[in-house]
């Protein structure tokens, strides 16, 4: 025994004493957030292809504003978690490329300051921060946010009055193009599904290619970085509800395919509604949340005053999340289902 004795005494003071479990899965919150950021980059790049440098300027502006606000409000720590970067990118993607940049910057500030920091920071906010910023801009600048530039043209041509001075408004002499949903709502003209699928239509920066957004969402779902139940239930509800309407009166209601591919539905279903903080934590809750959003989107688009309803549908359902969570608590192992409901 003695010849086998190895002196391990020296090791003792450096031994750690953490509580179990001592192993941890490799994923962390920062990695999840930054992966979402990386999957948004191809969507931004495609928007740059369609809307030129204006789109990139706008997304860069909202992102810088959001990250800067996070730094001002959150102290030194949470910036590196990447959530403010996501907020800024998503806000930029919901805006028209030709909007004055100062409005975008203001939106980025509102997103993080009012949408997140006031609630207590990451994890505490009730509403999707990017959509809070967009709702603010929609209320403050209703004209600028619905002035849609035309797809195509030279990359370096500005798509509007990006460099308008603050509080001066846009001169708006750029060539504009109605969005597919606007055409449908106000002129009853359908847009070809192929154009919607690949993104060659007017609209917000990120309302371009349904295909690309679906691909990025599929990757995130495969990595389990988003809850697949949310986009699947939203898209299925929109498809189902609008199919019923289309069957009742094909001349009055658009096709389900048009409803699915147009407007901000894809971006909203894949990237906005799936924000973990503002969506239900239970699997059943996610289904309820998604179905609710799907129904509201169709209701607002068909019967509401606005051509597009994704933003308000998500914000309304965000408000219900605490109640959905409470109503859909999991059944505890070894406890009959009835006992939980009481």
């Amino acid at each position: 025994m003695s010849e086998l004795r190895v002196d391990v005494t020296r090791a003792e003071p450096r031994l750690g004493l953490s509580a179990a479990p001592h192993l941890h899965a490799a994923d962390d919150t920062a990695r999840i957030m930054w992966t979402v950021v990386y999957t948004l980059l191809p969507i931004v790049a495609l928007a740059g292809y369609f809307f030129g440098i204006s789109a990139l300027l706008m997304v860069a502006t909202t992102t810088l504003a959001a990250v800067g606000t996070e730094r001002l409000t959150g102290g030194s720590g949470p910036v590196r978690d990447g959530s403010a970067t996501i907020t800024g990118l998503l806000l930029g993607l919901t805006l028209p490329a030709g909007m004055p940049l100062w409005m975008g910057a203001l939106g980025g500030f509102v997103s993080v300051a009012l949408g997140k920091a006031l609630f207590g920071g990451l994890g505490q906010n009730v509403f999707n921060p990017a959509l809070v910023g967009r709702a603010f801009l929609q209320a403050a600048f209703p004209t600028a946010i619905t002035t849609w530039p035309q797809v195509g043209g030279s990359f370096f041509t500005l798509r509007g009055d990006n460099f308008a001075l603050p509080l001066m408004g846009a001169q708006s002499d750029a060539i504009t193009q109605a969005t597919p949903l606007g055409l449908m709502k106000f002129e009853r003209a359908a847009t070809e599904a192929g154009a919607l699928f690949f993104g060659n239509t007017g609209g917000s920066i990120g309302e371009t290619s349904a295909l690309l957004i679906l691909l990025c969402g599929a990757y995130l779902a495969w990595k389990r970085y988003l809850n697949w139940r949310v986009p699947v239930s939203i898209l299925a509800t929109v498809a189902g509800f609008s199919a019923i309407l289309f069957a009742i009166d094909p001349t009055r209601f658009p096709t389900p395919l048009f409803m699915l591919l147009s407007g901000g539905l894809m971006l909203g279903a894949v990237y906005m509604a799936t924000d973990m903080v503002t969506s239900p934590i239970t699997p059943l809750g996610a289904w309820i949340f998604g179905i609710g959003i799907g129904l509201l989107v169709v209701l607002i688009r068909i019967w509401g005053g606005l051509p597009e309803g994704v933003m308000y549908a998500i914000l309304l359902m965000n408000a219900l999340v605490p109640f959905i969570n409470r109503a859909t608590q999991p059944r505890v192992f070894g406890v009959p289902r009835k006992a939980v409901a009481s």
């Binding site: 391990v8 031994l15 699997p283 505890v332 192992f333």
Partner: protein, 439 residues
């Protein structure tokens, strides 16, 4: 049926020792035997300082039914009776025996009980007198499970060979190398319980153990070996019952309320040994593994061997060793004192590196729901965690904190590195203290 819902997949790391044969560690210079090595009342001391004891002699007697005796694990002299470090982190009364270097370490001649002739009560007494406890970790006295209350009907004996903790291969090697002994113990347990059916649950990552057990199955007993999904915590009693029988043990109840008795395969093997050699529980198989130890292996060690001696026999710690854990890395307790003895219930020593145990940055809860997908008893760890941070323990109790078995799956998956199960352990302790105060 071979699985349960939810659970997690920690890296298994079993390859370090899964192919290493069990070998006997030489007797250390001294052993330290705490009087409290089992759930229940500590044993009552029988020896005095200076006494000479032979290997297998009883040095402390059972104090009531919920207690077991302690036996000398080596021949030698009682050098001291005093306070020694305990695996749970406290100091405890223990007997230190200086091992006689020139002893052959042979036990005294003894009668081996013949199980066929024993009544149920005699078999239970024989198991208790041998000091047998659950070897899977909880160290629950084995004879108590052989004596279920009269009003419950036991249909099936479930042997737990899942061994779902990373690194540990104690039960794996035991089943692969000593299947006859496991099955002999099984026969005695079935006899004592008066039941005819037994299922041995083994995770599929141990094909050699499954094959060895199947090859050794006796023709006259209804024993089946059931391969189980490789998933943590497959070896938790309630999960094993769900996987094998498809039954849920009701909240707050025991396995016997769904007609099952669960026993670890190591414990059953120990019972087999008692009726084979007449020797009480004085040694056990243990895995010493992890990247922080130089020569990982599976050892038979005398109970009471100090951590320091066992690690030294395995080549000592590496330069980057960061934490020494009794049990597996998911539920085991980190040790600060290398003089702590390895008691009856310790199934493994895992040494992790500083890189593995480095503190990770914590983020706020982002409600990703991974803990809900992981929790094998379907709790809402996210919500429980928020209640724990606010110190709202009564509300945690209403949210079924008592059903949490501290398996650590929620903490394992949490991307924000929130110490969920750690806080639940604190919550359970706080609630116990509150109740003790009220009572």
């Amino acid at each position: 049926m071979s699985g349960f819902s939810h659970g997690v997949h920690p890296p298994e790391h079993k390859e370090l020792t899964s192919g290493v044969r069990i070998r006997r560690m030489p007797f250390p210079d001294e052993v330290v035997l705490p009087l409290r090595q089992h759930a229940g009342k500590p044993a009552k001391l029988l020896v005095r300082r200076g006494d000479h004891v032979e290997r297998g002699d009883m040095i402390a007697a059972a104090d009531g039914f919920m207690s077991v005796p302690i036996h000398a694990s080596a021949s030698g002299r009682v050098a001291d009776i005093g306070w020694y470090p305990h695996p749970d982190g406290s100091m405890t009364e223990a007997v230190r025996i200086v091992v006689d270097r020139y002893s052959a370490q042979l036990p005294r001649p003894r009668l081996v009980p013949q199980w066929e002739g024993l009544t149920r009560e005699q078999a239970i007494a024989a198991v208790q007198q041998a000091g047998v406890v659950g070897l899977g970790g909880a160290a629950f006295p084995a004879h108590v499970k052989l004596a279920p209350p009269k009003d419950v009907k036991i249909e099936v004996l479930l042997l737990n060979g899942a061994e779902c903790e990373p690194y540990l291969t104690t039960d794996h090697r035991l089943m692969a190398e000593y299947p006859e002994r496991v099955l002999y113990g099984t026969r005695i347990m079935m006899h004592a319980l008066g039941i005819t059916r037994c299922v041995i649950g083994v995770e599929k990552n141990k094909p050699d153990a499954i094959a060895a057990l199947r090859a050794a199955l006796p023709g006259d007993l209804d024993i089946t070996v059931q391969p189980l999904t490789v998933k943590y915590p497959q070896g938790a009693e309630k999960m094993l019952i769900k996987s094998v029988l498809g039954r849920e043990v009701p909240s707050g109840k025991l396995p016997m309320h769904v007609g099952a008795i669960v026993q670890n395969v190591g414990t059953v093997s120990c019972i087999g040994e008692v009726f084979e050699t007449g020797l009480p529980l004085i040694e056990r198989v243990i895995t010493i593994s992890g990247p922080g130890v130089r020569k990982p292996g599976n050892l038979i060690i005398p109970v009471g061997t100090r951590l320091r001696d066992a690690l030294a026999y395995c080549g000592g710690l590496t330069e980057d060793a960061g934490e020494v854990i009794f049990g597996g890395p998911m539920m085991g307790a980190a040790q600060s004192d290398l003089d702590t003895p390895i008691t009856k219930g310790i199934s493994g020593v895992v040494v992790l590196t500083t890189a593995q145990t480095a503190a990770q940055p914590a983020y706020p809860c982002i409600s990703c729901g991974r803990c809900l997908d992981a929790c094998p008893v379907f709790l809402n760890p996210s919500q429980l965690g928020k209640l724990a941070q606010a110190g709202r323990y009564e509300e945690m109790e209403a949210a079924h904190l008592a059903d949490c078995m501290l398996c650590g799956s929620c903490s394992f998956v949490c991307p924000s590195h929130i110490p969920l199960s750690q806080m639940f352990a604190l919550g359970k302790t706080a609630l116990r203290r509150q109740k003790a105060k009220v009572a």
